[in-house]
Amino acid sequence: MLAGIRHGAKLYTVDPRRTSSAQWADGWLGLDVGTDVALANAVGREIITTGLHNRAFIDRATTGFADYAATVEPYTLEWAERITQVPAGMIRELAHRYATADRAQLCWTLGITEHHNAADCVFALINLALLTGHVGRYGSGVCPLRGQNNVQGGGDMGAIPAKLPGGYDLEDDTERARFETAWGARIPPKPGRHLSQMFEAMETGQMRTLYCIGENPAESEADAAHARAMLSGLDHLVVQDIFRTATAELADVVLPAAADWCEYDGTVTSSERRVQRLRKALDPPGQARPDTHIICDLATRLGHAWGRPSAEQVWDELRSVSLKWHAGMSYQRLDELGGLQWPCPAEDHPGSTLLHERLWDTDPVRRGTPAPFTPVEHVPPVDELTEQFPIRLTTGRVLDSYNSGVQTGGYASPLRRREALCIDARDGARLGIADGERVLITSRRGSVEAPVRYDPTVRPGLAFITPHFTEQVDTNLLTNDAWDPKSGTAEFKATAIRIDKVRAEQASRAGRLAVAGE
């Protein structure tokens, strides 16, 4: 992105914090947390009212424009300024720049998706791309920047309740039948539970056993105290991981796994749908074994002789069923080409750098089903700000650390500082809290102690903390597990908190307060 800026691209950053990206930007839209839909709809309305929308593209390649236009009509610049706290002029500038740019991209990370209305936030952005035709052309598009090296691949492999490997809908009877034939087994026709639903099922007692592979929900789930209580209450918990995580500490059985990215072979799929090869560089330590070996042995013990397929054999089996996306990606090609982007349906197919190009095709048949506008409305965060909880806490990652910190805790980063609650100096002065002073942070779900750091990137009324250092501050004891019904993502980004000075007797207690079973 910085290379693009160097070549003259303009950057607008929408973020409650004045991040590093915001400092590079031509415009910073420091919106209030959870007002993304309001902002996007206001941008859409401004584009429409000034006639900057791409009528030809809309007519040819989309449906639902009239509904969309009607939905965004009330989202005036002035209204949006009130809701988002972004000056109307800046919203207008962004709308005009985006609409009139030759090529423009919308890129986002978890600030869009870790909300109770995550999917709506994404739809609001897709609507803008459809409105302007900034999609399906080189240099334009919508681009979620994935936080994990294989979050895309996991979904592509079917690790989404409603999907089969290769992006087929589980509820598509024809496709499901094809998979059933290939696998010689019946596939339940209804989607299973996603993570948030699993925790609900644990709460109601419907789910009593959990097999958890490479995930640390005891620390990474919103409302972590609740998550830990649920995990502790299970009849049986199996954890398969490369670390002895906080979740593993709660397990009945721990299966030590190899770090597949360097201790075994396989593939991962990046944000841009590029499938690339993992290769073994090290021998795994002790009894650690590759995940597929453990899973296949488990199947064998359960009476299904899956044997010991190699990573390539597992992959080839996937290729045999993922006909549209992966069929053409042999290991040999992946090695030779340094990866391939799906769709890649055949071995003579070059892979696809661009998606949705078809929308520009002049031939209606090749153009296919038009892309629908999905009108969405602004709904504020679930965790309301009140007198009791007046400050908005948002969470986010920092460059040198990763998620719950188990992977990055292992190296000495000179950038790393002690975890702290970042607030604006003016809030600090108002609350009588000095830079560096320890405070008690309380949300509707729990309390943690943390030192405060005055941080110029944070605006008054906003507080920021990372999820990386649970041993210092167990951030997810505070966050809200209200989740988006469309995606199942919890609202990590918007928590209402109160900051209190720590009294002397409290100060002696550890920052880590509530652990499940306490």
Binding site: S270, L399, D400, P414
Partner: protein, 313 residues
């Protein structure tokens, strides 16, 4: 693997050492030489960085040009006649290597440099015995336009103590040939962090942070892209530095395996350099379109989690 936008590049025809060569327009003379398997020494050139043509070891003779030209930066033109092994070329290459060898510690610059030194007949000793190393910080404080007038009894060098000010990498500027690669990688060619720059002038130029503050006080984000491009071992990881200091550096045992970074979704290719089942360095292939050889702190240094094993395992 770069995105092919469908531009068809015209072929340019030139003569290199008497052979007709056709290369795409926009190629450099170096590209043309390499297409002919003519070995051309380079130090400041890297395929993933903008050529600065500072070292001048890649110079070739171009008919019609008054001076030799840097092959790494000079685009080919139709009808060029290039000589890569004339007496003038050999002399300049020898002198460049000799001037560097007499002023910089090239002992970790790799086998190619050792071979070129032999091939071109470098004799660094003829400039006299090397001067004593500078005290810590002395070279950082030198002022443009002023220098101690030498008596010629020793040859000036850039020797100085290693800078060790953080847990991830060391800066051993006694090995620095001022190729600018680290500055480019820290700046507009990759990282856009601008933590380091070239300061001072002439023989006193140096790579430094503002006011020579320690790295943790600078803008450095420890991506290590500077290490990745350093050709002489002036910049290296603490792990390599410590293994070398302890006499445990064992390149003969080293394997290099390409895999994918275990962190975010960009999909950077990592080359894991392993000695004795331990990752000692991480690099990235320069010819891969995802990263062009550049990484972030997590990719470059975040591998420790597979090596921090519990006691006794």
């Amino acid at each position: 693997m770069t995105v092919d936008l469908g531009t068809i590049r015209r072929l340019v025809e030139l003569t290199v050492d008497g052979e007709q060569v056709r290369v795409p327009e926009g190629s450099t003379i170096l590209d043309a030489c390499r297409a002919q398997d003519i070995e051309t020494p380079t130090l400041c050139y890297a395929p993933n960085l903008t050529p600065v043509n500072a070292c001048r070891v890649c110079v070739v003779e171009l008919e019609g040009a008054r001076t030799l030209v840097p092959s790494c930066a000079r685009p080919v033109e139709d009808g060029m006649v290039v000589h890569t092994d004339s007496e003038r070329v050999r002399h300049s290459r020898k002198m460049v290597l000799e001037l560097l060898d007499s002023s910089v510690d090239l002992s970790q610059s790799g086998e190619d440099v050792d071979r070129w030194k032999d091939q071109y007949g470098v004799d660094a000793g003829r400039y006299g015995p090397p001067a004593a190393p500078a005290a810590a910080g002395e070279r950082d404080a030198r002022h443009a336009g002023h220098h101690e007038i030498p008596d010629g009894s020793t040859a000036a060098t850039v020797a100085q103590p290693v800078k060790e000010d953080n847990d991830l990498y060391v800066r051993d500027y006694g090995r620095c040939i001022m190729c600018y690669k680290c500055v480019e990688a820290c700046g507009t060619d990759a990282q856009n962090t601008f933590a380091i720059a070239v300061a001072g002038r002439g023989f006193d130029t140096r790579i430094t942070t503002e006011f020579a503050v320690e790295l943790p006080d600078s803008a450095c984000v420890y991506c290590g892209n500077c290490i990745g491009v350093c050709p002489t071992g002036a910049l290296k990881s603490v792990s390599e530095h410590e293994l070398r200091e302890a006499g445990q550096w064992d390149p003969d045992d080293e394997t290099v395996t390409t895999t994918i970074c275990s962190f975010c979704g960009v999909g950077c290719n990592l080359e894991l350099h392993v000695q004795h089942n331990q990752i000692v360095n991480v690099t990235s292939p320069t010819d891969h379109s995802v990263t062009h050889g550049h990484l972030c702190i997590k990719g470059r240094f975040g591998f420790q989690h597979v090596q921090n094993l519990p006691e006794g395992s």
